[in-house]
């Protein structure tokens, strides 16, 4: 278990990253790396900056300080026009799916292939159906996103995110708003995709049971700092805040996390 350790060979590296939205500071000097081909789950309470970490990796927001390296390239100061080349190595599954609501599910999945490949329509159709089958969706070609359930939208979004075979997959809250069966289905899907394609995965979540089952590495955002480690390591932590959080003792841990953040900001806190 470590705080602020980085592996410079990792496909995604955060080095002393600061991020604030107006007066609200979300990340303060965050340093961590996300190992190649592994599932890293970013865990934390609401508003702790989980989604912000993913949006920083995708270049959708820019950090106020520090360095972010994605696929070997520092993206902090990269102009938007050059970010598109970096994003071609990324896939992102948004919390709400972010499927284009005027297109059918088939066209949503075909869209990135039509944009970035020279595949013929028949080949595109084959690939789309292959990905839909991989996420367990059938007979949804002609449906619009608005006609699908929450779980189906997430699966369609996941299929679209991996259809271009990205090196790094970002999944924003893949389990939110789902029933327990759908949670397990998405969890199994993510593990299978990771195993079969060897994609580096960054998953933001506050769903602790799934995190403990699927994560190779957990980045726990507490206050303005991150605690990084394997799930088992974190569960055995001597830090009561970490243990409480992972045991889903929500009220106490959040209270403690808030206190911890205050202590850290005032410099009175030391790592266990």
């Amino acid at each position: 278990m470590a705080e602020g350790s980085t592996d410079t060979d990792a496909p995604v590296v955060f080095d002393a990253v600061d991020m604030a939205f107006g007066e609200r500071r979300v990340l303060r000097g965050l340093s961590c790396s996300f190992p190649r081909g592994r599932i890293s789950v970013i865990l934390g309470g609401s508003g702790s900056g989980k989604t912000t970490v993913l949006r920083l990796v995708g270049g959708l927001v820019r950090p106020q300080g520090g360095r972010i390296i994605v696929a070997g390239q520092e993206i902090g100061g990269l102009p938007e026009s050059q970010m598109y080349a970096v994003r071609s190595k990324l896939g992102m599954m948004f919390q709400g799916g972010a499927l284009l609501d005027s297109l059918t599910i088939f066209d949503n999945l075909a869209f990135p292939l039509r944009e970035h490949t020279r595949l013929r329509e028949a080949e595109i159709a084959d690939e789309v159906h292959k990905q839909l089958a991989a996420v367990g969706l059938t007979d949804v070609d002609a449906l619009l996103p608005g006609q699908l359930s929450g779980g189906m939208i997430k699966r369609a979004a996941l299929a679209r995110a991996i259809i271009t075979k990205p090196e790094i997959l970002l999944c924003d809250e893949p389990f939110s708003g789902l029933d327990p069966i759908s949670v397990k289905r998405i969890e199994a899907l993510l593990r299978r995709i990771n195993r079969q394609l060897g994609i580096t995965m960054l998953v933001s979540s506050h769903h602790i049971p799934s995190t403990m089952r699927m994560a190779d590495q957990v980045v726990l955002l507490l206050g303005n700092t991150a605690v990084v480690g394997a799930p088992a390591e974190l569960q055995q932590s001597r830090d009561a805040t970490i243990r409480n959080f992972l045991n889903e003792e929500v009220d106490e841990s959040l209270e403690a996390a808030a206190e911890l953040a205050t202590e850290r900001q005032s410099g009175t806190w030391s790592h266990p």
């Binding site: 995708g58 970010m83 598109y84 071609s88 990324l90 948004f94 919390q95 944009e115 271009t164 970002l170």
Partner: protein, 258 residues
């Protein structure tokens, strides 16, 4: 008093800030227009959405305005024994002023607000971020076809509004008031100059198209990602768009003489 001056200052700063961002946004649209691949299909869809779906409102409004002009014009002109000039009055009013201005105001209310709401909803539901993550520039795919379509349809809608208005004026003047049809048409023909009036009118409509297209897409694109943000973008498109049209109308009339 100091608070009032401060508020005024902040308003001025925000105005200049928006103006600068709008200029950058316009430049991005210009650059996207020259960047391959051309987005032909979205452009044609927007021509349909903004143009074809506005036909009924434009035709009905044009007809109604032409009929009112015919009635008011006839009642006024007949006092001076100048009712033969009805065609000229209706024609010049519509071509030089009412056609482009009212069309632009109607298009702002119908198509401009719809454009802002659609883009704003895409912002709120992360669809534009989704496009960015698929390495697709949303200004290229979503914004530019809408803005350019607005520029293209505005002169056509304005021309249609004018034609309907002339028809409405003809109906009231000739069919209801008993004016001679030949007199109405020849008065119109003699008074209207193709270059000064018709071309000028179309250019005016073109400028209004640029204004509405730019304001609607900018407001939608920069809206806050919430339902309140979408609502605010829609409202401000109509308000800012309408006021801008009226202000620009004065300056175009004063400087170009159209």
């Amino acid at each position: 008093m100091i608070g009032f001056v401060q508020d005024l200052g902040w308003m001025a700063v925000r105005f200049v800030d928006h103006l600068g961002k709008l200029a950058v946004f316009a430049a991005q649209i210009g650059r996207a227009l020259l960047t391959p691949p051309p987005r032909v299909r979205p452009f044609i869809e927007e021509i349909f959405n903004l143009g074809v779906l506005s036909l009924v409102i434009i035709c009905v409004s044009g007809l109604a305005v032409g009929m009112v002009l015919g009635l008011q014009g006839y009642n006024t002109l007949v006092r001076f024994g100048a009712e033969q000039s009805l065609g000229a009055v209706v024609g010049l009013s519509l071509i030089r002023e009412l056609g482009p201005v009212l069309t632009a105001l109607l298009a702002t209310g119908r198509a401009g607000s719809a454009t802002a709401a659609e883009i704003g909803t895409m912002v709120a539901t992360e669809q534009l971020d989704g496009l960015r993550m698929m390495s697709v520039n949303p200004i290229h795919l979503v914004v530019t076809p809408k803005a350019v379509a607005m520029v293209c349809v505005m002169p056509l809608l304005s021309a249609l509004f004018i034609v309907c208005g002339l028809g409405g004026g003809y109906f009231v003047g000739v069919k209801l008031m008993g004016l001679d049809g030949g007199t109405y048409v020849s008065s119109l023909q003699n008074a209207v100059d193709f270059h000064d009036d018709v071309v000028g009118s179309l250019l005016k409509a073109l400028v209004f198209g640029v204004l509405v297209g730019l304001i609607a897409t900018y407001r939608g694109y920069t809206s806050a990602p919430t339902s309140a943000g979408v609502s605010s973008a829609t409202t401000s498109t109509v308000v800012v768009g309408s006021v801008s049209i009226l202000i620009f109308d004065y300056f175009i009339t004063a400087l170009w003489g159209v």
